[in-house]
Structures are given as structure tokens and as C-alpha cells.
């Protein structure tokens, strides 16, 4: 059992336990904090898979932006701190069983693929320049420039949509300021 395998199993168990706690946790804010732990576990898994850039992106986008946004959204509701009811209803054992069966089925399917190994396939160039390859292919006309620009339009749409929905009640034309 190499060190890497031990780390992988440990991180996997932590991520799984955190994910279960997200679903089961009684307090909304606690659930958000367990989610942060699960996302951090995924970031470590990315590092184990030698995708350092993706690990950092995971931390920067998911943990630093989305998790904080989730907590802010939770605090925008009225009863966030008071929410204390049990999260499981009567049929939880059946849904847990369904989840385990689905997981088992997926594992079985993956095992059928002949060449599937846990080792990442080596890139053609060394990984010092994989960021450069990514950057060039993002703006290369033959590769991903259209999705790149469409992504920016999508982000623009998200920003405009959210501002339209969550716009503060007083518009900018009002002059007397109020706190």
C-alpha cells in the first residue's frame, strides 16, 4: 500500500462522510460548513490526480465564492439559525439503499471498461507547459475559442439575471439616501 493510496483512501472517506453530513445535518449553516469540507476533499483528490490547476480552481471558485454565497443566501432567509428539525423522513432507508445500488452499478460498469486504470495518462509535453497548452487552446480558432467567448456571454447573462432578480428595492434615481 503506497503512501499515495493511503492518502487517497483517507481523503475519500473524509469527503464521503462530509457529504453524508451535508444531507443529514439539522442546521442549515452546519450543512454549508460540511459542504466546504467535502469540497476541500475534492480539491485534494484533484491534487492526487496531478491536476494542480483544477485543484486550485476548485478551492478558488467553489470554496471561496460559491460556499460563501451559499452561506449568505442561507442567512438571507428568515429562520436560518432556528432551523432544527430532523432532515430524514420515514423512507430514508429506501433512498439510502437506492443510492448504494446506483453506486455499485456504476462501479460495475467502470470495471467493464478494459483499459481503465487509476494512473493519469501522461501528456505529450511535460506538465510544466500544460497550462500553456490550455491557454493556447482556449483562444485557438480551431479549438475552443467559440466556447470561450460563449462562456463570457453566459457569465454576463448570469450577472444580469441575478441583478434583475435581486435588485435592491430603491433604484439609483432616488436622491435622498436611506440606510
Amino acid at each position: 500500500m503506497t503512501g499515495l493510496q493511503i492518502v487517497f483512501i483517507a481523503v475519500g472517506v473524509i469527503t464521503f462522510a462530509a457529504a453524508v453530513m451535508v444531507v443529514v445535518s439539522r442546521n442549515l449553516v452546519h450543512a454549508a460548513l460540511w459542504l466546504i469540507l467535502a469540497l476541500a476533499g475534492v480539491a485534494v483528490l484533484f491534487v492526487i490526480l496531478e491536476a494542480g490547476f483544477l485543484a486550485i480552481v476548485q478551492v478558488a471558485v467553489y470554496i471561496d465564492a460559491i460556499a460563501i454565497l451559499i452561506i449568505v443566501t442561507v442567512m438571507l432567509t428568515r429562520h436560518a439559525m432556528r432551523d432544527d428539525e430532523p432532515q430524514l423522513n420515514k423512507t430514508w432507508i429506501w433512498s439510502a439503499l437506492a443510492a448504494i445500488l446506483l453506486f455499485g452499478g456504476l462501479l460495475f460498469l467502470f470495471n467493464q471498461v478494459p483499459d481503465l486504470v487509476a494512473q493519469a495518462a501522461p501528456l505529450v509535453e511535460t506538465d510544466d507547459t500544460y497550462l500553456e497548452i490550455l491557454g493556447k487552446s482556449l483562444v485557438d480558432v480551431d479549438r475552443f475559442v467559440i466556447p470561450f467567448e460563449v462562456a463570457s456571454v453566459l457569465l454576463l447573462a448570469a450577472m444580469i439575471g441575478a441583478i434583475v432578480v435581486a435588485r435592491p428595492p430603491s433604484s439609483s434615481s432616488q436622491e435622498g439616501g436611506q440606510e
Partner: protein, 400 residues
Amino acid sequence: MGDPFSLIANWLLDLLVGFGLELEFTKVLLKFLGAGLMGTVAMLLMLFTIWLERKIVARIQDRLGPNRVGPYGIFQTVADLLKLLTKEVLVPSGADRFVFIIAPMLVVMSVVGLWAVVPFAPTLFGTDVNVGVLYLVSIGSIGTLGIMMAGLSSNNKFALLGAFRTVAMMLSYAVPMILALLVPTMLAGSMGLVDIVEAQSSMWFVVLAPVTTLIFFISSIAEVGRAPFDLLEADSEIVAGFHIEYSGLSFGMFFVAEFLHAFTISALTATLFFGGWQGPGAEAYPILGFIYFLIKTGLVYFVVIWFRGTFPRIRIDQLNTLNWKLLVPLGLAAVVFTAVIDKWAAEQDLSRVLMHLAGNALLVVLTLFALRAYARSARKKEEAIRSELMKPSHVSGAGD
């Protein structure tokens, strides 16, 4: 003789291998020792920098600062530490115990983690991940998360409000910081900090991108939460904000994290824009590089302290206006200008430095014009309000 770091590292490696351990394990062990050393030095450095800061701020304010405990008051921080050690650690009733206790640890972890990628000398750095710059951004924002956890778990309205205001400020000022970090990446062609420092061997990036340096510096100071952006710790405003309920060394950890973060961003500004360890003779003698790094970091830290002692505190709406209406558009414009000018200058075969300086000067002039237009429109709006108020038909005074 000019390279003590490699000498010590190789000597330790040989020593441990001589004890019979295998090579790979010894390397990992050395990294562990290095990490422990870095963490300890970071925390111990605080004993010195806090004293230094208090002395300098005191002199700026025309007073003496700590001068009782030890010669020139050098042991003042040790005395404060001992005092905090003996204070009772209170966990307020109704607070979320676990989250309350680990919040300061998260904040310190995020700041100590930043030191992992800073190159002190050509052969002395924690590690050279090739995503160093983005690592800085992401690990720095974990501190924001810690502050939010501190405020949420304190069972105190002031703490909650203060925490969310702090988090909103830190998220806002992270945007121009990220944009400003794009420019050294572009100019050096890599995200790794070691590569960025090595790319400054011909010309420091502060010469190529002065506007960006300023944007990064200002937004980093706001990220740390120091004056003039220390609205959220102001006693008269919100009674210490998110760390109201903390006492003893839990509070001490927040304090240490803030000062360490201020020192860290001085080091980062020096590394990213002022050449890090670059200087005459640094490549041949790494110890010289280390000294240059310390001098540059010290100078930038002095400017940070100078800001603290000089500027008045910014109001929260001024804070937001400064960020979203000045720094973010300026940051976007700086990235666009740098990108276009560098490529265009390379294609036209003109002098890179001069074109960048000209571009930045153009940016500054445009910004000044925009600021003048904004000030004029704000003044007009204010005069309109005032003429409304002066009208005799107004019975009750309107709010301002």
C-alpha cells in the same frame, strides 16, 4: 560560501541518509521539517513586527510608543503574549462551540499557507507549484471563510453584522487583486512565483506596470483589513466586529493573523512587482538575494505602516465606491492595456519599457479625466439636493 541554504539542506540530507533512511523518505522528512520551520518562524516574526509597527505608528503620531519593557520596549509583544495567555477563554452561551474554536485557526492557517510559495532567494523557497499566483488568491480567501465562521458562531448580533460586512469587503477587494495578478502572469509567462521573479532580471515589473502595482497594493491592504480600511474593527462603529466574543489567545490569533497578513502582502508586492530577490550579484550569491528580499519587503511594509498612520478611516459606502467604480474598471483597463501594448510593441519592434510606460501614463490621464467628470456630476447632484432643501416650501428638513 554565498549559498548557505543549499549547503545546509545538502548537509542535512547526507546526515539523515547516513543514518540509514532511504532517500525518498528523507526528502519528504526534510520538507516536513522545512514546513515546521517556516510556520514557527512566521509566528515568531510577529513578535518583532508588532513591536516595530507600534513604534513607527507612534512616531508618526508624535509619541513614543512602547518603551518600558526591555530596551526600547522590544519585549512589549512578549509581555502582551504572556498577558493574553493568562486570560480566561470564554465561549459565549448559545455559541456554536466547535466552529467558534476553529475559526481563528483557519484564519492563521490561510495566512501561513501563503508563505509556501514565496521565493526568498534563488535557492530558498517553500515550493514551486506552477499555479503559484492562483494559489495565493485561493488560500487567501480561506481566511475570509474563517472570519465568516467566527461571526456566525458567536451568537451575537454585532459579530454577525461585522462578519458579513468584513466578508463583503474582502470579497469586493479580491476582484481588483485578482485582476492585478493577471499582469505579472502575462509579463512573465507563468503563474509560478519563482518564474515571475526570474523574469524580472532585466526589468522590474513595477516599471512595466506601475498602475497595476498600485492597484494590487491598495486592494491587498483592503484584503488584510488594515487602515484606512479598518472600518470593521473600529471601536466606535461596530465594537470590534467579528471578534467581539473572543478572548485570550483566540483573539490573539486573529491579531497575529492580521499583522502576519500585512507583512505577507508586503513580501508578495516585493516579489511580484519589485523583483523579489533580484539585485546585483544575487544569482551568484543567494545570501545576497535573501538580503535584497528582506530590504524590499521591509520598505514596502514601512509604506503599509505609513498608510496606517496617515490616512483617516474610509466610510463603508466610500469603500464600495472606491472598489467597484475605480479599482475594478482600472484593473480591467490595466490588463487590457498591458496585453495589447506588449503584443503590439513586440510586433512593431519598439522598446517594451517605453511603450508600457506610455500606456500606463495614458491610463492615468484617462482615469484623471474620468474622476474629474465623476466629481463634477457628484457635485451637481449635491447642489441640486441643496437647492431643493433651500426652497422655502420645505417644512421639515429632509435626511441627508
